[in-house]
Amino acid sequence: MALMSETALAGRSGRLSSLLGLADLKHGDRAPLARAVIVLLAAFTCLVVLGSLAIGPISIPVLELLPHVPSYIVGAGEQVPDGVSARDWIVLMDIRLPRVTLGALIGAALAVSGAVMQGLFRNPLADPGIVGVSAGAGLGAAAFIVLGNSLLAPVMALLGIYAVPLAAFGGGLATTLLLYRIGTRGGITSVATLLLAGIALGALTGAITGLLVYVADDQELRDLQFWGLGSLAGSNWQKVASAAPIILAMLVCVPFLARGLNALTLGEAAASHIGIKVQRLKNLSILLVAAATGACVAVSGGIGFVGIVVPHLLRLTIGPDHRYMLPAAALLGACLLIAADTLARTLVAPAEMPIGIITAFAGAPFFLWILLRKRGLTGL
């Protein structure tokens, strides 16, 4: 009897493992498993999106409302659709949908940026937030928030809603290039130098941002405050419109880096030996990471640790192959950030917590854990 149930169990787990592609694992092929995980993550992301749209101080019937959204958008959306509560409709369209959309975009961008940067620097601890890229982007954005009406007014007038994201992009790019310059000698990037230089640059850009506080007025001060912790509060369609093009462009380009980043695992010389144009790969990666980080920082401030936690979790489950890791990171990043944001706006309702606090609470201990685990094996 015991034997029979064991066989039955083995049969079932055999079917399950072949479904998940676990049978291929013996031959070292993690691709089927990775594909299964991506499908699961996609399904899970849908659930999280629906949940986050429904939950809040006011519960709204999301499943009834969503079918009206496409025709509303096509019809340029002047009025509330028939048979729908006006209050629910406004909560959905003006508050939750832009916020969840922004959360998904930013979560995906942060996670993918982290993964690309880690691949580029060949180290699992490299992340735009840790090495000061976000701080640089924050400075760029802060400069425009505070000086946008005075010193930088002509630029502001020219660039409109894209001024702040572009400034954040410029700040992020400048910081990344500087870091790469400092950390790389003779084609070899020293991660210890990189992290230390990142701390120094972070402090420097923080100090300059601090100076800006003195010339800021009350509204500008409040806007500035929010860079420090990061928040999706105040999400609206305008913010979505300013960040979405950059982030979507990055998400579309990034799969083309996957093969190169995989090769880079062997080191720059070996990657070149198997036919990768390493310098071009590095340039493109830096550009995309700086662009996406800039866009994120511009609309949501400094949300930390997503870029470290997500790629690391995925490497543990599906392995480091960037062809699968990058799309999976986009999905898991979106999922986690939307979930964290839902917590941020419900835990202390009707008040709201900056989402950066939640990601830091979850992420910082995780970062330490990676550090300790790694130190045991290879050191920094």
């Binding site: 031959h27 090769a263 695992t265 062997l266 070996a270 030996h273 198997i274 392995g319």
Partner: protein
Amino acid sequence: MLHRTIENGTALTPDLFVEQVSVSAGKTRIVQDLSFHAKAGEVLAIIGPSGSGKTTLMKAMTGDMPYSGAITLAGLEVSGLSPEVLAAMRGVLPQASQISFPLNVAEVVGLGVTGGRRDRHFRARRIAEALAQVGLAGFEGRSYQDLSGGEQQRVQLARVLCQVWEPLPQEGLPHWLFLDEPVSSLDIKHQVQIMQLAADYAKRGGGVVAVMHDLNLTAAFADRVLVMQGGRRLAFGVRDEVMQAGLLSKAYDFPLEILTRTGGGRPVIVPVDNG
């Protein structure tokens, strides 16, 4: 058959020519005015004491360091070729390879697989064949970072083999293997196996250039030998001409002697015994 003529009449040779090459790092000249050539179908060993410029010369030949002079592979100047073109002509085995993320053995070897990139079964078969060649059959699912140094080196060799699988493709020029101290981290059994594999690759029409430390393995497997000293060429020629006690003693600045074995085995190179 290997010599074809292209339109402007230049002979297209499959071989590797190094002519009056100098390589500098900063202000120091590491390789000076060095010339030799290597033939497809042969194993060329580069020997010499530490610091004699072997690895630097290797880096110039694989396109990793700028040089003056001429290095041509199949008639093409190496410095003018893109990574993709070079990758289609030759594979390079580095001295030691740390990887930055926990890839498994199949994934590391798979990085070298060219052609049929999308065909899973082709890839899996090629990876398995390559691993079998280096004596690591069945290692596909193992974590690369948990392997011993010698096993890692052999996995890397399997990766390089996948890149230039056919020593002499039916259409086109022979492939080349550039091996930087391929057997330094291996035990004696695998040293011999890997050198056998390299010699076999050459026998099947490919070209092999290997930086070597072990003189006895060089004497056993090389067809031609380049001896370097202080960045210059001390000697170059077929094995039996070069592997002489006097020349080697001079190269390594240490008295060496060659013992002939009764029964006609290959001679053995050892330090002179003063005891």
